[in-house]
């Protein structure tokens, strides 16, 4: 022993998992979704995703004065998630501003990864939505052309406006919509990877999708229940946005409440609100409530007998 011994607190072994490895897992999980987006909407979708990721990573690297663009990978995830909520081909500057807002305002105002209260990608998306709704909502939904990588863009109304898409199309994704929200199939494949790696818990997606389905039943039976689940951003939101570790509760009961809240607000906006889609607002609102939910749902300690009220 020529060097000094190391002394530290127990435990002396650590799992190989790091933040970076988790972020890479999330990127892997988003890969089928991204692939599907390119398959349906062509190379313009790829361009949107790359612009968003690069802008997000560059913003973070500048803020942290870090040379390594990828870093812990969280900025890449945020950028890609933001792109997933955007239409296939918004103007490039809209994407860049969205990424800058997401990383700058949504994340680094709070001191960076882990400290933010609101999901950065959704903050970016909400700001874009309020600022330039003509570019990110409205008449921007390009009709999907499978294998039409360079096909001309023809827009059509969102299935959340028309309510006439077939459930099969919604499941496969051959409908118009934001890059990452059309194909429930791809989203589920990605989410299975995350489940397998233990990065998401069934509670948030389960309660979110469950309550959307149940409320959908009231909107027109089984068909509408499924329609509400498959159309729009519910799958993307429930599987990838609401499950964002940083901005969702850590307690098991809290996760259920969180998912329920997201679903209820989403459906309230869809059914009664002034906008066709409410996933973004639902999740952002519940993000704000997360600290309170955590505080109110402290788990029962091992061996503790709940005091009878």
């Amino acid at each position: 022993m020529d060097r000094k011994l190391v002394v530290s607190s127990s435990p002396h072994i650590k799992s190989p998992e790091t933040i970076r490895s988790i972020m890479i897992d999330v990127l892997v999980a988003l890969f089928p979704v991204a692939l599907m987006a390119v398959f349906l909407f062509g190379f313009r979708a790829l361009a949107t995703m790359i612009i968003a990721m690069v802008a997000a990573m560059a913003t973070e690297a500048i803020i942290l004065r870090r040379k390594n663009l990828f870093g812990d990978g969280s900025a890449a995830v945020t950028g890609l998630l933001l792109a997933m909520t955007l239409p296939p081909a918004p103007p490039w500057w809209v994407v860049v501003i969205g990424s800058v807002v997401a990383i700058g305002v949504g994340k680094h105002i709070y001191g960076g990864l882990g400290n933010n209260i609101f999901n950065p990608a959704l903050v970016g998306r909400a700001v874009l939505f309020v600022s330039w709704s003509t570019h990110v909502a409205g008449n921007v939904w390009i009709k999907p052309v499978p294998f039409g990588f360079t096909a001309d863009a023809v827009t059509q109304a969102s299935p959340l406006v028309t309510y006439d898409a077939s459930l099969g199309d919604l499941f496969i994704g051959t409908v118009s919509g934001a890059l990452g929200e059309t194909s429930a199939l791809a989203l589920i494949i990605g989410a299975i990877w995350l489940f397998y790696r233990g990065h998401i818990d069934w509670r948030i997606p389960g309660s979110f999708i469950g309550i959307v389905f149940i409320l959908g039943l009231f909107d027109g039976g089984l068909y509408m229940g499924l329609y509400h689940v498959l159309a729009g951003g519910v799958m993307l939101g429930a599987l990838f946005m609401a499950t964002d570790m940083v901005t969702s509760p850590v307690t098991p009961a809290g996760k259920l409440i969180f998912g329920l809240g997201c679903g209820i607000v989403t459906m309230a906006i869809r059914m009664f609100g002034g906008m066709p889609e409410g996933v973004t607002f639902g999740i952002l609102l519940m993000n704000g409530l997360t600290p309170l939910i955590d505080n109110m749902t402290l788990p029962k300690k091992f061996g503790e007998v709940k005091k009878s009220a």
Partner: protein, 442 residues
């Protein structure tokens, strides 16, 4: 095979293969033993020998000063050369008795067989366990006679022998269960008799099928009138933690802050059961124990029977010495063991393992912000919120740390093991516990 377990926990790499197949071998007695006068939780002992005294092997050299304490015995015969403070595995300096070994191993006259178990009364068993200086040998070193003396209003109905050995790397208990299963059963019978318990359970993790069958065989052969069951347990850390073991074997949950006695259960370690058997059968006090010497930093890992007071350096030497990239010395297992600043530390009754880790294990990773992934919450066997306790402790908001359950943590290390942000949660919790205890005292 019913696998019972608890909620939470982790599945670290176990690293047991390197030593689980190596039979226990007696370690060479060193030329000098250094026996600290504090070997268990509770008050330290008072030396009852003087410098220059000749002592015999097994002779009592330290007399306990309080109830929660156990006597200490010489592990070699020879001459007391000095009594002065020396390094202690707890990281402090503690008064220790230095004995020059004369190599004769002259046994003390007091070491003679007791009556058979059938003839002994519960009181006598307790007295034997106290005189023999028995303590919990899993690491916590709680004096055994205290565990055998529950308050009169509590009737213990179950004694559990902890053969889980859930700490990675360690195999001492595993070997004992293979080689000394009869003594384990005998020890358990003694505990049951002392407590008037009607049920004995030996819990063994199911990654040790050979131990399970060995102990099962011993139970079938020699349990006699005693109702003893062998429970295979789900392999998961910290299955061997007192409260988790009780939950897994009996389904009872020990309330926060309480001892297993609260649910009428007493836990004992396999090593303690064997020491109990030896104390009754041979009159032999606890002055040596099996230690697993292992880890990637050890050239020839093994399981050694080590005399109390042997320097870790001598033990390591007998195992071929250290590899060149050894960087960390841990007494105990990798999850709860204590890292040592030097190898000039004596082995004591609670030393279950000598673990030497190499460079790759000690690479310091930067502490990132908590990303609230909740993985620590999932794995916490006590159902606490380690991430929040850690964050509160980092900011020195100790009342918040208490609210999230800091005081109920038993430092199993699952949270720190799991944390992808590499946050030293256990250490923060430990700091918070200290601060909370200090403020309560005020």
């Amino acid at each position: 095979m019913s696998e019972r377990t608890f909620v939470g926990g982790i599945h670290p790499g176990y690293f047991k293969e390197s030593t689980s197949g190596i039979p226990i071998a007696p370690a060479k007695a060193p030329s000098q033993v250094i026996i600290p006068l504090q070997q268990n939780i509770g008050a330290p002992c008072e030396a009852i020998v003087k410098v220059g005294d000749e002592v015999k092997m097994g002779q009592k050299i330290g007399e306990p000063k309080g109830f929660v304490s156990a006597p200490i015995h010489a592990s070699v015969s020879g001459k007391v050369s000095k009594i002065e403070p020396f390094n202690h595995p707890m990281g402090t300096q503690v008064l220790a008795v230095f004995i020059e070994n004369d190599g004769q191993d002259t046994p003390d006259e007091g070491m003679k067989p007791n009556k058979s178990l059938e003839e002994l009364t519960p009181e006598e068993i307790k007295a034997i366990s106290k005189e023999a200086g028995l303590v919990g040998m899993g690491g916590a070193t709680f004096p055994t006679h205290v565990k055998l003396s529950p308050p009169p209003e509590i009737q213990i109905d179950t004694v559990i022998i902890n053969g889980a050995e859930c700490e990675p790397f360690l195999t001492a208990d595993h070997r004992l269960m293979l080689e000394r299963a009869d003594d384990i059963v005998f020890g358990l019978q003694a505990f049951m008799k002392a407590l008037g318990a009607t049920r004995g359970i030996i819990g063994i993790e199911d990654n040790k099928p050979d131990a399970i069958s060995s102990v099962r065989k011993a139970v079938a052969e020699s349990s006699g009138d005693y109702n003893i069951e062998v429970h295979p347990l789900h392999t998961k850390y910290p299955q061997g933690a007192e409260k988790m073991l009780i939950k897994a074997t009996t389904g009872r949950e020990v309330p926060p802050g309480a001892l297993p006695m609260a649910v009428n259960v007493v836990n004992q370690n396999t090593g303690t059961a064997i020491a109990m058997a030896e104390a009754i059968k041979l009159g032999k006090p606890l002055y040596e124990r099996v230690v697993t010497v292992t880890g990637p930093g050890i050239k020839k890992p093994g399981n050694l029977l080590v005399r109390n007071g042997t320097l870790i350096r001598d033990i390591i030497e007998q195992c071929g010495g250290l590899t060149s990239d050894a960087r960390k010395l841990v007494l105990g297992g990798p999850m709860m063991g204590l890292a040592q600043p030097t190898d000039e530390i004596p082995a004591i009754k609670g030393t279950s393992g000598v673990l030497v880790l190499t460079e790759e294990f000690v690479k310091e990773q930067p502490i990132a912000s908590c990303i609230k992934c909740g993985k620590c919450v999932e794995v916490c066997p006590m159902n606490l919120l380690p991430s929040f306790i850690g964050a509160a402790s980092e900011k020195k908001v100790y009342d918040l740390a208490e609210k999230y359950g800091a005081m109920d943590c038993f430092e199993c290390g699952c949270c720190t093991y799991t944390c992808p942000a590499k946050r030293p949660l256990v250490q923060w919790i430990r700091i918070a516990k200290g601060a909370i205890a200090a403020s309560r005292k005020k």
